[in-house]
C-alpha cells in the first residue's frame, strides 16, 4: 500500500511538471503551397526540438539551413512561374536540404527528450532520498547524542596508570 502511494505521488508530480500548450488568437488564414510540405515538416520537427529544450545554438544552425531550403523553394517557385525548367533542380535542392534538417531535428528531439527525462528523474529521486533522510533524521534524532557519546568512548585511548603513581 505504501509503495503504491509513493508511486502515485511521484507520478502525479511528474505529470504536472509538463507545461500546458499555449494558445494564440486566430484571425484570418492563408494557405501554403502544397509542394512546400517537406519544408513545413522540417520546420515542425525543428520547432518541436526547440520546444523540448534543444540547445539554442543547434536550433539556430537548423534554422539557417531551413532558411536556405526556403530560399531554394522560393527561387524554384519563381522559376516555375516563368516556365524555366531549372525550377525542378531548385525544388530538389530544397527537398534535400529539408530532409537533412528533418533527420538532424529528430536527433535533437531525442536528445532533448532524454535530457529532460534525466533532469526530471534526478530531481524527483533526489526529493525522495532527501525525504527519506529527513524522516529518518527526525525519527531517530533522540539517538544521536547516545550515538555520538558511543563514538567518543570508542575513540578514547585507554592508558594504563604508572605503578609509582598508584602507590603515591
Amino acid at each position: 500500500l505504501r509503495t503504491g502511494l509513493f508511486v502515485l505521488l511521484v507520478s502525479l508530480a511528474l505529470a504536472s511538471s509538463f507545461p500546458a500548450a499555449s494558445t494564440m488568437t486566430i484571425a484570418q488564414e492563408t494557405p501554403v503551397n502544397g509542394s512546400g510540405n517537406q519544408l513545413i515538416i522540417a520546420f515542425q520537427a525543428v520547432q518541436k526540438a526547440d520546444s523540448l529544450g534543444a540547445p539554442a545554438d543547434q536550433v539556430a544552425k537548423l534554422s539557417a539551413q531551413l532558411n536556405n531550403a526556403l530560399g531554394y523553394y522560393n527561387t524554384a517557385v519563381e522559376l516555375a512561374a516563368q516556365g524555366n525548367p531549372t525550377a525542378s533542380e531548385y525544388f530538389q535542392l530544397s527537398n534535400q536540404t529539408s530532409t537533412v534538417v528533418i533527420a538532424k531535428a529528430l536527433i535533437l528531439q531525442s536528445d532533448a527528450e532524454n535530457s529532460r527525462r534525466n533532469e526530471l528523474l534526478t530531481a524527483y529521486i533526489t526529493a525522495i532520498v532527501a525525504a527519506t533522510m529527513s524522516a529518518l533524521l527526525v525519527l531517530e534524532y533522540h539517538q544521536i547524542p547516545n550515538f555520538l557519546r558511543k563514538r567518543k568512548l570508542l575513540n578514547t585511548k585507554l592508558r594504563l596508570r604508572d605503578s609509582n603513581e598508584t602507590q603515591g
Partner: protein
C-alpha cells in the same frame, strides 16, 4: 515497531511534499509572455527619418528600410511579412484582421527563438500616373517594378501597411499576427 513505521510514513510524506514541490519548481520552465516584436528601421537604423522632411518622398528617391522581426515566442517561428499600399481612405488592418488590399510584396523566413531577423525593403517611386482624377504609383520594390492598382487624389498621402503572419503548425496555415504602417506624400 508498527507505530514507528507509521510515524516514519507520515514524516516521509510530509518531507516528500516539500522536496517534490522544490523539484517541481526547479524543473518547470519559467512562465513568460510570448510575443513577436516587429519594427521598421530607416536607412539610418532608427525608428524615424523614413522619408524626407514632412514625410515627403521625391520621385526616384531611393528609400532603404529594414523590417525587423524579433522572436520571443519560446520556439522557432515561420514568419510571413506582407506589405500593401494604402491611401487615406483605405481600411487598415486591426488587432484581429488583416487589410483586404492587394499584396505588394510577400516575404517568408524562419526566425529562431530569442533572435532577430531583418528583411530589406528598398523602394523607389519611379513614376506617378494620373488617371480619372487619381494618381497611380509605379514602385521599384527590391528590384521589382510594380504598378499600384490603388490610386489617390493628387496631394493626398499614401501609406505602406506591413503585416506579420506566423505559421500555425496545427492548422498548417499562416495566421495574421499584427501590423504597422508608415505614411508618405509623393512629390514630383
Amino acid at each position: 515497531m508498527k507505530r514507528k513505521a507509521s510515524v516514519f510514513l507520515v514524516l516521509f510524506l510530509f518531507f516528500l511534499s516539500i522536496y517534490a514541490a522544490i523539484a517541481f519548481y526547479a524543473t518547470t520552465p519559467k512562465p513568460s509572455q510570448p510575443f513577436i516584436g516587429f519594427g521598421i528601421y530607416s536607412h539610418e537604423g532608427q525608428l524615424l527619418g523614413y522619408t524626407g522632411p514632412n514625410s515627403t518622398v521625391v520621385l526616384n528617391q531611393p528609400n532603404e528600410w529594414r523590417l525587423n522581426v524579433t522572436n520571443k515566442m519560446g520556439s522557432l517561428q515561420f514568419v510571413q511579412v506582407i506589405s500593401r499600399l494604402g491611401n487615406q481612405t483605405t481600411i487598415p488592418p486591426n488587432a484581429t484582421s488583416p487589410a483586404s488590399l492587394p499584396v505588394l510584396a510577400n516575404s517568408t523566413m524562419f526566425v529562431p527563438n530569442q533572435n532577430t531577423s531583418l528583411l530589406s525593403f528598398n523602394w523607389t517611386i519611379t513614376a506617378v500616373t494620373p488617371s480619372g482624377g487619381l494618381d497611380y504609383l509605379t514602385i521599384d520594390l527590391n528590384g521589382h517594378s510594380l504598378n499600384s492598382t490603388l490610386g489617390s487624389p493628387a496631394g493626398s498621402p499614401y501609406r505602406f501597411l506591413f503585416e506579420i503572419w506566423t505559421f500555425n503548425t496545427s492548422l498548417d496555415r499562416f495566421q495574421y499576427y499584427t501590423w504597422l504602417q508608415i505614411w508618405f506624400n509623393v512629390r514630383n
